[in-house]
């Protein structure tokens, strides 16, 4: 009996287990999944918690509810992965050998990378919203805040869900308007990028949104340290930005076990073939989702499109066929823009976000790079889609590869 090991039972690992379990020959292959946590978080929902739109219970379910039957699930931290030996050592000393491994260990924030961030003021007037603790503590702060200067800062790229900080700023504008204190809240968006977003057309479009919503954009700012005592954020060049409330998107890094196991780059992301998703170093190791070092977005939609490609490549690998270089960097992101509206972007490695209709060319119902109410409903409906279809590995009516149909070159 051969062993297929999936390391990580988050969005990517769960989808993969659900896709592979029904198709692998169970007289030849056995699937084992390892994860250290019992709880699955709907991470896109964290964005809505600080505004009281969602609460904790809206984003939590047990991971076990989503694993397929017939696979072994081990809940345990991993001591080390030894890909040269084809084995994984668990924290309790157990050793799991594999013939084929899929690594889906994700990405997480590491506020400790920035001097002065983790201190007395952490989760007092400096918050993240990429963890359940950060999002709920921030909710408690915002609920009673009477105004002042809000700074939303991206410390460095890459980050998980690169549009989330923008959405946070848009929702702040909406929320404080609804609360009747928008005139008492100054909002500044501080980013290391040269504009609101990476790609020129979307950067211009989203930059105009910031202006329209009276949010100040400070670009090319590489955050070096926080002076929490004096409420100042400093760049490496010693420029200072004052804040009363700092919402940070700290440095994002891959899992520590990847670093310990010598499998990652300097941010613990795993060097991965951009198109086949095979590890660049070990041919029986594949990498999925945020754990890769691909120059694509780190997002659930990307993991979903990757999973379609990997599903095929795992079967090809098992059958001794050449891998298909089919992943194109496809990402699809709803951007909540406040006041019940949203923007949608769809892009890949080579094609930047363009205007148009999605998924049906000319029809929609969603509009690309435009603000509509329908896009907002797409975002809100996605939570249902995520729990009921996406995690379970069901087919969605969107191709893994990006299509130009319905898009307009501008």
């Amino acid at each position: 009996m051969k062993q297929l090991l999936i390391v990580g039972g988050g969005t990517a690992g769960t989808m993969m287990a659900n896709k592979l379990a029904p198709v692998l020959d169970d007289s030849e292959w056995h699937i084992t999944l390892i994860d250290e946590h019992e709880t699955h978080y709907y991470q896109p929902g964290f964005l809505f918690i600080p505004w009281g739109i969602y609460n904790k219970n809206d984003v939590i379910k047990p991971k076990r509810d989503f694993y397929p039957s017939g696979i072994d699930v081990i809940i345990s931290p991993i001591e080390i992965i030894e890909p040269d030996e084809n084995r994984v050592k668990l924290a309790d000393g157990r050793v799991i050998s594999y013939d084929l491994m899929i690594v889906a260990t994700g990405s997480r924030i590491n506020p400790g990378e920035t001097e002065g961030m983790l201190g007395d003021k952490w989760h007092k007037n400096i918050f993240d919203f990429y963890t359940i603790e950060g999002a709920t503590n921030l909710r408690n702060f915002i609920k009673y805040w009477e105004g002042g200067k809000l700074v939303v800062n991206v410390v460095e790229m890459p980050i998980k869900c690169p549009v989330a900080p923008l959405e946070f700023a848009f929702l702040a504008d909406w929320y404080f308007t609804e609360q009747g204190i928008r005139d008492k809240v100054e909002i500044e968006y501080v980013t290391p990028l040269p504009g609101a977003f990476t790609k020129p057309i979307a950067a211009k479009f989203l930059g105009e949104f910031l202006t329209k919503k009276n949010i100040k954009l400070t670009s090319d700012f590489s955050a070096g340290r926080v002076d929490a005592e004096n409420n100042k954020l400093y760049s490496w060049d010693e420029e200072a930005i004052d804040y009363d409330l700092l919402v940070t998107i700290p440095t994002n890094m891959g899992a520590e076990v990847i670093g310990r196991s010598g499998m990652g780059d300097d941010l613990n992301f795993i060097p991965t073939d951009h198109h086949t998703l095979q590890s660049k170093k070990w041919e029986n190791v594949f990498v999925l989702g945020d754990a890769t070092d691909l120059p694509s977005s780190k997002a659930g939609s990307v993991a979903h499109f990757e999973a379609d490609v990997l599903f095929e490549n795992i079967q090809r690998y098992i059958d001794g066929r050449p891998l298909k270089p089919a992943f194109d960097g496809h990402a699809n992101c709803y951007i909540e823009s406040g006041f019940g509206k949203g923007i949608l972007i769809d892009f890949n490695y080579d094609v930047e976000p363009l205007p148009g209709k999605f998924p049906l060319p000319g029809v929609g119902p969603f509009s690309l790079l435009q603000e509509t109410r329908m896009n907002h409903w797409g975002k809100m409906t996605f939570r249902w889609v995520y729990w009921n279809l996406l995690l379970k590995g069901a087919e969605l009516p969107i191709e893994a590869q990006m299509t130009m149909a319905g898009k307009k070159r501008v």
Binding site: T198, K199, D220, S222, G224, D237, D266, A331
Partner: protein, 105 residues
């Protein structure tokens, strides 16, 4: 895309002045490249960064990140920003004749 003559040799560079082919680069070209982006003179500290980048590029095939220069090259980020103000990764890669470091989405 443009050709330029540096230290008596013709090299191909992209629109922003980054080298198309890092193998075209020679140490003699560095002071001239540095001057183009306002860094003059090149000190031994600058050279430590440039040499690390060249070496690392040879081994890894990509321009090292600021974090990698700290972890592997022992060059503190603070120093990097002092030596190459406003965007050390880009500026140092420019002088070292490497391609533009790709940003992430």
């Amino acid at each position: 895309m443009a050709e330029a003559t540096l230290a008596g040799v013709t090299v191909e560079r992209d629109d922003e002045g980054f080298f198309k082919n890092p193998d075209d680069w020679k140490e003699e070209m560095a002071p001239e490249l540095a001057k183009e982006i306002g860094i003059d003179p090149l000190t031994e500290e600058h050279w430590k960064v440039i040499r690390f980048m060249r070496e690392d590029y040879k081994v890894k095939g990509q321009v090292p990140s600021i974090r990698r220069m700290k972890n592997e090259g022992g060059i503190s980020t603070k120093d990097l920003y002092n030596l190459f103000p406003k965007g050390p990764a880009k500026k140092a890669a420019y002088i070292a004749g490497l391609g533009k470091p790709h940003g992430c989405i």
